[in-house]
Symmetry: C2
Subunit: 219 residues, 2 copies
């Protein structure tokens, strides 16, 4: 027979694990962007390798969520607390995949020096990192306002994406020597933009957890 306090302990443990997973994803994006800036193929390989641990954590969180639901039959908001953890773990895992995609692009980019310093990517990454952090805080503290504010940061990511897209397109049109590198960088920009979308999903999950309402923040 399980009690309310059993549930609270299990929930707390689950949240701890989710926070740990979030920290790893923050580290992934930091390392990924550092590897990109320095054209560091070894660091990029490390990012790819780290993804296994994140995948493993996601599956573990998923299993624990299912068992918690089955054994404790939480209702209403308690059920949403568990399903939110599950959904967030999936988004975190996909975010790590986005960074792995960037790391794989770095391998292709590492052969030739950049034709200009990449300043926009660290900017995008910094906002993305902030989104992960705020998203997890919003989950743990069930802070709907923080979640919505976080989702608004995605507009900045999107507008930086549009900016770098146009810039790279102009570079390609002006100089065909730069087409291959620009193409890979276009994809890197896109992966960061996707990362921001996943963070926005986390904001939606928190809004649903707190309010029971589905809101589309990904506009």
């Amino acid at each position: 027979m399980t009690t309310r306090s059993d549930f609270d302990v299990s929930l707390k443990n689950l949240q701890q694990d989710l926070l740990r997973m979030g920290t790893l994803v923050e580290e992934q994006i930091e390392k990924g962007i550092e590897a990109l800036s320095r054209q560091d193929a070894a660091l990029a390989d490390q990012v790819v390798a780290n993804d296994d641990e994140i995948d493993r954590m996601q599956l573990e969180i998923e299993d624990r969520c299912m068992k918690l639901i089955a054994m404790q039959q939480p209702m209403a908001k308690d059920l949403r607390r568990i399903s939110a953890a599950w959904r967030i773990s999936i988004d975190l895992e996909r975010m790590s995949d986005n960074i792995v995609d960037i790391a794989k692009s770095i391998r292709r980019l590492a052969q030739e020096p950049y034709f200009k310093p990449l300043i926009i990517f660290p900017k995008m990454a910094q906002i993305c990192q902030r989104m992960v952090k705020d998203g997890l805080d919003a989950y743990v503290f069930e802070d709907q306002e923080l979640a919505i504010r976080m989702s608004e940061l995605d507009h900045q990511v999107d507008s930086l994406y549009k900016e770098v897209f146009q810039e790279l397109l102009s570079i390609m049109i002006q100089d065909q020597q730069k087409i291959t590198q620009s193409t890979h960088l276009l994809f890197v920009a896109r992966y960061l933009e996707r990362f921001g979308d996943h963070a926005t999903n986390i904001a939606e999950t928190v809004v649903y957890l707190v309010s029971g309402e589905r809101k589309d923040l990904n506009e």
Copy 2:
């Protein structure tokens, strides 16, 4: 008090819904590629609009999975049957997002005629469609071999992706007039490639459902 046959009925209903969702996703990719081939912006808009229904279905399936787990406390394989439906619904929803991304590219592409007929995209799409169909059959019939065979189709999608990537890159290098269109088409190719990855996730989910083992088929 719920019985085994209650569970079986609930599971069957859940599977029916998942199949319906899969059929919609198959229709999405068909319409998306038709809109792409014909540069049909109106059809592309329809694809974007259809995505709302798919999102709604995903959330409904998710809610039902949670309630089923809470109310019936399935164990072992029964629990995996429910969690598989949940996971597959998430992948289907993401696949529909990939097609929405294609539809959005079509709007940008609709202004100028294609510089060459797009034959490789329908080919990729056909394989992707097959993967969805086989993936859902493999889920319903708990057919691990079918799931693994399905996941192997992803190699064809990947190699078509590499082919079209190289081709578009060469076109861009040869003729700067074609850079903008080629860039958008590069992204279309990438979205189809991602679609194939999600299908492969479905195969992994089926393998886990049947065997209880996590296997990485996304290599």
